[in-house]
Subunit: 244 residues, 2 copies
DNA sequence: AATCGGCCATGACAGCTATCAACTTACGGG
DNA sequence: CCCGTAAGTTGATAGCTGTCATGGCCGATT
């Protein structure tokens, strides 16, 4: 655990580790100068939307502080929590397919982002062609990781899903230079449940179970991982469906 | 609510949108001449592998006849069926992230593919820069669709998952110009189960259920959809997890 | 300070599905 | 033609988890 600090842009090739379980579309492309010295900061308060599902692509956003969730609604059904973005994550990349944002980005708390407008993105893409390629690669990589994660979640029980979730979160925080064992998630239980395909009650019960097993202590939205290896073990083995 | 329009992706129903649920990485990019007059055909018999998980990217493959499945193994766990490719599908695109094939491609029956070697791909990418972009877009699109599908599958019961599966298959066949109500899948029940995160028994029972309801008749690997609308209704509503 | 409402936890119960097991069917080889 | 193995089906059972209902906790508003 590198004793990194809050606004850590060190971006030193973080991707050497297969970036397993990289939930949102976060990229280590913070070397883009435009993202740093930009006075193009935006501030949002809780529950304010950064962009809405279905609106045309307007730009990318780098989370500076706070966090947001991305939710997609199918068909007027329930909105599904698709991703959680924390400081350092780049948001909006998944709009490149349709030139439309596939989900609504909603601030979970006071949030500041720096904006990379569409024009700026195009410019950059033209100026530095390898950037586009790099972006594409990273997107592809992330998205593939997530696909794998989702497929294995399909085969896992609630215990396995939540273990997987916290292991993933732990890795993300570690990568960002924060403590991998103690962190705060702005997501509600309900958000977590939606994200994992469970119900609030099951999430609650499973957290209580983890607590009893001395694996993870949750109080409100603060989490303290006591036995990461135990969680990893659960995440890997605790699937019950379609074993073989 | 914004006047949802072409932004369907979200709003509009997932099924009318053609590209949704496009299980494998199939692209309509058959305009590439190299793919047509290529004498670079390869023939594989059942159970032979086209490429193995973890091997470096060597090229793309266009399925000409037969079909294959792509399976990924995590951690020495059970192999998961990730995708099913039928004639017209382009396979191997998901290797661009890591330059490594993320899964093993296995022929489900006698299979012919035309090969687009890595060099050829690079050449083409250089010659026609918009091709690369197009490819990237399509990949992104597909992968996002699949992400949405997987997330909603997480919230669905066996009935919902299988209904979803067959509706998706129906769409794919329709897109390819085949009958959307009668088709043959080379996938075994076990493959389908793995693909959907269920067990063989549940798949079997659910198919029997569909049969009784006059929704879908399955005999062996031949499927005959009797009530597509009914299946769509099930696919959309038959989720039980995390309602709100 | 009191109240209201959202979030969270917990219990009871029912429904769904994995598991185990037995059986049938399909298919390929001797 | 018979048999052996794999694939598919069906049944019984147990376990997990969704649903419904209750109560506590906390923050926000009055």
């Amino acid at each position: 655990m590198p004793p990194a600090r809050a606004n850590d842009h060190s971006g030193a090739d973080v991707f050497t580790d297969m970036s397993c379980l990289h939930l949102p579309l976060g990229l280590p492309l913070e070397e883009i100068p435009e993202l740093h010295d930009a006075e193009t900061f935006t501030l949002l308060r809780k529950d304010e939307v950064l962009f809405e599902q279905g609106t045309p692509f307007a730009g990318l956003f780098l989370v500076r502080s706070g966090s947001l969730k991305q939710v997609s609604t199918i068909h007027g059904g329930d909105p599904l929590v698709m991703a959680y973005a924390m400081p350092g994550d780049l948001v909006g990349l998944d709009a490149i397919g349709q030139n439309v944002y596939p989900g609504t980005a909603l601030a979970l708390e006071t949030l500041t982002v720096s904006v990379l407008s569409q024009e700026r993105v195009s410019e950059l893409g033209a100026q530095v062609p390898e950037l586009r390629q790099q972006l594409c690669r990273n997107l592809s990589q992330e998205v593939h990781d997530e696909r794998l994660m989702l497929r294995s979640l399909l085969h896992r029980t609630a215990v396995g899903r939540l273990a997987y979730f916290f292991v993933a979160m732990s890795m993300r925080f570690r990568r960002r230079g924060y403590s991998p064992t103690q962190f705060r998630l702005a997501l509600s239980r309900s958000d977590i449940a939606s994200y994992l395909g469970l119900t609030v009650e099951t999430v609650s019960r499973t957290l209580a179970h983890f607590h009893k097993q001395e694996l993870l202590k949750a109080s409100g939205r603060d989490f303290h991982i006591l036995d990461l290896d135990g969680l990893i073990r659960l995440a890997e083995s605790s699937g019950r469906r379609g074993g073989r």
